[in-house]
């Protein structure tokens, strides 16, 4: 079944293609010269209003890196970026399969969006706090978090630092500058602005980076974040990851008649950049620019990362129910890993063989780590978690009423 008729004057936006339609995105031109110039990071916000409507790109499909935004990363950095993206994808693949085998209650992949996480993380300092969504596991991998710890969180086992309190992928890694992910969309955008205000208040130059999906920009917190960031010139980066889909709703439901999500920042006087989110070098460059602006007192930047969610929203949905099965493959911006691979090959730094070898190596390494993680327990089998942990960290100290409930629960266990 395809799009629905509407006999009313009430306008309801519809995606260009539904299951059964043959998707065609040739109208989305990807001009090599679409990239706007790179202004001084301390320019006036409105000097970037054009940037909100265009697209910063560095990587051509042929593997060349071009233009003034080219961050000219070292070969070593490029190799790290590639490896981290591949590890992220390998982990997503493994965890998805294991969820299907019932080892965990839930999982969410970031397939196709790895460049946003990796490029962004690499361009920030480790003391820059990131307020991520559930689709930036790549940030943790880039910052060297223990993949085993991450897997244990998903498995809710004895190795889970969160003692199984939160559902899979809602990580919290303060030591890696990775804020506790909330299940409530949008809420952390304004919190990140508050975090940044605290940095400024203490005259520190660390910045905060907050991330939202394009669908969640409709929450009030997005408005609060843009408004407070503007009013107090908070040293932060506000990232909108536009992966075209919000579960089953296409980006037009949140976007409406607007021209881009980056443009939402124009009216607030924020700096606004729009970047090819499948181009890890462009993501890196835009992030660096925004971080420098924030660090030097220029205030906040809104960055739209234009990308595509290649897989389902989570393990709970089947995307072919609401979009054409072939859409992910014909999406005109390519795959972020493929594109960085092409670049490294273009530089003579890499070849198909080594790439395939690294792919296998990543899969193997992930399988090994997963084995160790699963050995500590699974939700389906034994979590090896004490149920009593459920009463911890409600408050710093349990008040009397909670103490009584702990006793009631113990009594329940004895009976």
């Amino acid at each position: 079944m395809t799009k629905r008729s509407n006999i009313s004057r009430l306008h309801i936006p519809e995606p260009p293609f539904r299951p059964g339609d043959a998707p065609d995105y040739s109208h989305i031109s990807v001009p090599a010269n679409h990239t706007p110039h790179r202004p001084d990071p301390l320019c006036e916000g409105h000097e970037t209003s054009e940037h909100a409507l265009r697209l910063i790109r560095v990587l051509r499909f042929n593997g060349e890196a071009v233009g003034e935004w080219n961050p000219k990363l070292s070969a070593q950095q490029l190799h790290k970026a590639l490896k981290d993206m591949m590890m992220t994808r390998a982990m997503d693949g493994r965890m998805f399969t294991m969820q299907r085998q019932g080892k965990m209650s839930f999982y969410m992949k970031s397939t196709g969006e790895e460049a946003m996480s990796i490029g962004h993380a690499m361009a920030l300092r480790h003391d820059d706090m990131i307020f991520p969504t559930y689709r930036q596991q790549g940030i943790l991998i880039s910052r060297g978090a223990s993949i085993k710890d991450m897997m244990c969180q998903c498995l809710s086992n004895a190795g889970d630092h969160l003692d199984g309190k939160s559902i899979p992928v809602l990580y919290s890694f303060k030591k890696h500058g990775f804020f506790s992910i909330s299940g409530n969309l949008g809420t952390q955008l304004i919190q990140g602005v508050g975090w940044a205000m605290a940095n400024a208040y203490r005259n520190e130059d660390a910045v905060a980076s907050v991330i939202t999906g394009e669908g969640s920009t409709a929450e009030g917190d997005f408005h609060y974040a843009l408004n407070f960031a503007s009013t107090y010139k908070a040293p932060c980066i506000i990232n909108v990851v536009n992966n075209q889909w919000a579960i089953s709703s296409f980006q037009g439901i949140a976007m409406g008649e607007g021209e881009s999500f980056a443009a939402r920042g124009t009216g607030y006087g924020l700096a606004t950049l729009r970047v090819d989110g499948n181009d890890v070098l462009a993501v890196y460059a835009a992030t660096k620019w925004a971080a420098e602006r924030a660090r030097r007192g220029g205030g906040a930047t809104l960055i739209e990362h234009f990308t595509y969610r290649k897989e389902g929203h989570s393990t709970s949905d089947d995307p072919t129910k609401y979009r054409p099965e072939e859409e992910p493959d014909i999406w005109p911006f390519g795959d972020p890993i493929e594109r960085l691979k092409m670049h490294l090959i273009h530089l003579g730094e890499w070849d198909e063989e080594r790439h395939t070898a690294q792919e296998d190596a990543c899969k193997k390494e992930i399988r090994e780590i997963y084995k160790q993680a699963e050995a500590m327990g699974t939700l389906s089998g034994e979590t090896n978690l004490d149920d009593m942990t459920m009463f911890e960290q409600v408050y710093e100290q349990p008040p009397r009423h909670l103490q009584r409930q702990i006793d009631m629960f113990k009594e329940e266990l004895d009976h």
Partner: protein
């Protein structure tokens, strides 16, 4: 008679009203083409048209806000909040606006809208897919709060809600969508397919508000429950071999206090169940009313068996959930005391 699970029954209620009344429309996150993450609106867009069942931006405040405006303008919007855990951005529009419009305008404007949202745990949803926030709404004068425990009631109560001229919050115990649940996650799950309460008349019928359903009759004690806990109550009473007067409250605000009073005055003992956190949960209101209305008939303290005063944990879900063990302990305590 058609056999339906709770999802079918809820969808059928909307379908019936949309077919009868062009002023009824349905919207929310992913409810349109996709049919909702729990499938409650599947097929409604195809059948009734794009403009009558459509997706909204991810903005619970906006969803309730347009519902208030549409309702004031003569429509009967049915809005879905994807999970009750996500209703809080819309709390102001519900408590300050939908529930207040009639009063502050002295009837000049009204807000006949329905907000549907899934509540409760039992699906490993963790802190943000398991909450039961009913007590945060029963405190709001001007709002009605309804919670069915089976397909038959779900359809009848939802049609009643859509036809009601005041705003109604319609809570759907997600653990009951596909079948009754007695609180034991280890048993194979039961479906509504062969259950008598899964027999749902086609077409239009209503189940009145402010009237509790008698689940079972007995003289030993009264058990007040709603939603998922109705089924846990029934199983636990059987397990304990007590003759329990079990009331499925269905309508929390307005509440069928007469049924409660009559039952407790007869049994002299009262157990109150809910899945929500204990302190200031709706059980507190029930206990307060029973304590006042039935004081001279009470032979044992009124007990509440509830979720703990913690967020709803993920891995420890069944340690949090007030299952048969906790309910049986409650029954035992009440029966032992004199």
């Amino acid at each position: 008679m058609p056999q339906m699970n709770m999802i079918d029954a809820i969808r059928d209620a909307m379908d019936v009203k949309m077919s009868q009344d062009p002023d009824v429309l349905v919207f929310g996150e992913d409810v349109g083409y996709f049919g909702g993450v729990f499938r409650c609106t599947a097929g409604l867009q195809e059948k009734h048209g794009l403009h009558r069942c459509f997706d909204t931006p991810i903005s619970e405040g906006g969803i309730v806000g347009i519902a208030v405006g549409m309702a004031a303008n003569g429509l009967r919007p049915v809005a879905e909040i994807q999970f009750a855990d996500y209703i809080y951005p819309g709390y102001d529009q519900i408590a300050s606006e939908a529930a207040r419009l009639r009063y502050r305008s002295n009837g000049d404007f009204t807000a006949p809208l329905t907000i549907r949202t899934p509540v409760g745990g039992g699906i490993y949803g963790g802190t943000t897919h398991s909450q039961s926030p009913e007590a945060l709404f029963t405190h709001i004068a001007g709002l009605k709060t309804i919670i069915p425990s089976n397909p038959y009631d779900a359809k009848g109560l939802l049609i009643q809600a859509i036809e009601d001229n005041d705003p109604v919050l319609f809570l759907e115990p997600k653990r009951l969508y596909n079948g009754p649940f007695d609180g034991d996650p280890h048993k194979p799950s039961v479906s509504w397919a062969k259950h008598e309460l899964g027999e749902v008349p086609s077409g239009h019928y209503t189940v009145p508000f402010e009237s509790a359903r008698k689940v079972s009759s007995g003289d030993d004690l009264t058990i007040l429950a709603y939603g998922t806990m109705v089924w846990v109550a029934e199983a636990s009473a059987k397990l304990m071999g007590v003759e329990a007067d079990i009331l499925d409250l269905r309508s929390l605000m307005p509440l069928d206090t007469d049924a409660i009073e009559q039952s407790v005055k007869r049994t002299g003992r009262c157990l109150i169940l809910h899945e929500a956190t204990r302190t200031s949960g709706f059980g507190a209101e029930l206990a307060a009313q029973v304590a006042e209305m039935c004081f001279y008939s009470l032979e044992a303290p009124i007990l509440r068996v509830t979720g703990w005063d913690t967020p709803y944990p993920h891995a420890q879900e069944w340690a949090y959930f007030p299952g048969q063990k906790r309910v049986c302990n409650g029954i035992r305590k009440i029966m032992e005391s004199q």
